[in-house]
Symmetry: C2
Subunit: 208 residues, 2 copies
């Protein structure tokens, strides 16, 4: 996949304008949902536009009113999933009394999210190869919000001072890998116990 | 890619026996090195066996003495890369006086490794889709050794007690994502400063 290599991202074409009518928006949403189901199931390469329109119950030609290509619907799907994940986590931590509690609840919620919707997780991972710009936007947007929260918490004295951006990427990486290992591959560890272990290290550090 | 979907791993066929002669081993090694160069450059899907043998300077038919398929050479490549990475990191931390120093040096060495050989990093990431069994073996083998080191260090009182396996996965995830963000995408942050920041959090924790 030369043009989708992470070293040479595909040129970003202008996105097809979003529909203006309610009905158009509904059709577009159905296509994204169908793409999620089909691509999550068989992977990007094996998924065809015909599979996606069949799943959505829409004529194949209609697809091209909303998207130029399978690439474009995939990219939109990754963007949608970013919003969905951020919204889900924001809700999970909304009434946390302080940042450390928010961190703990956020990790717990992320593990549940991954366990319940492994297809979403797989799609983001596949985006690294299929739509590297969308993959990067997914994590960069996430990190930006995360770093703002960490910086605000350090300012308020809820956590120790430190580089919020570096911390945000480190903590995201931790969550992503713990999600793959303990929520997708095997879940022999109780997620609450897992979060308690991780937070013992994060809150108090490894130093004896 | 239905048979390579992370949800439905490809059936693992018996590996082609390794050659017994020195010359055979050299040819096999050349094919793996050529596969690394070609797949690292264009991705697994676009790489052909003809590209790999051309790069290795070997007749195409000879490939099949050593490997059954592009899948098999890829899987062997991921296994080789696991050994290489583990060896590189073991060397980097060999004379560290204690575990926290070893952790710090290990992360620093990993970031250098990723910056110098991004193709290796990309191949492991692509393995998630192309050879999920090899991808999983890569991380599981890594985590096993890492957890043993952490458990031994806790036993010796060099770090606080805690679940070594959970910690190993959390720390690996952190390193992988920091590598992608700061060693592959952009390196505007000095790697020593990055490691110092991350270790401030890991050693002392986030609690104020």
């Amino acid at each position: 996949m030369p043009e989708a290599s992470p070293n040479r991202p595909a040129p970003v074409r202008p996105r097809t304008p979003k529909p203006r009518t309610r009905r158009g928006q509904d059709t577009r949403d159905s296509l994204i949902k169908a793409a999620e189901a089909v691509i999550g199931e068989v992977g990007f390469a094996a998924a065809s536009i015909a599979d996606i329109t069949r799943r959505a119950g829409i004529a194949q030609g209609t697809f091209y009113i909303y998207f130029q290509s399978k690439d474009e619907v995939f990219r939109e799907l990754v963007l949608e999933m970013g919003k969905l994940t951020r919204g889900f986590l924001a809700d999970a931590v909304a009434d946390a009394p302080d940042r450390l509690t928010a961190e703990r609840r956020g990790l717990r919620a992320f593990l549940s999210f991954v366990a319940e919707r492994p297809a979403l997780y797989n799609i983001v991972m596949e985006a690294r190869f299929v739509a590297p710009d969308a993959y990067r936007a997914y994590y960069t947007t996430f990190a930006r919000g995360y770093a703002q929260n960490l910086a605000a918490a350090a300012h308020e004295g809820e956590i120790r001072d430190g580089d919020a951006e570096v911390r945000a990427w480190a903590l995201m990486g931790m969550a992503v890998t713990l999600g793959e290992r303990f929520a997708i591959w095997e879940s022999e560890v109780d997620p609450d116990a897992l979060v308690t272990e991780v937070f013992d290290m994060l809150e108090r550090g490894l130093r004896p």
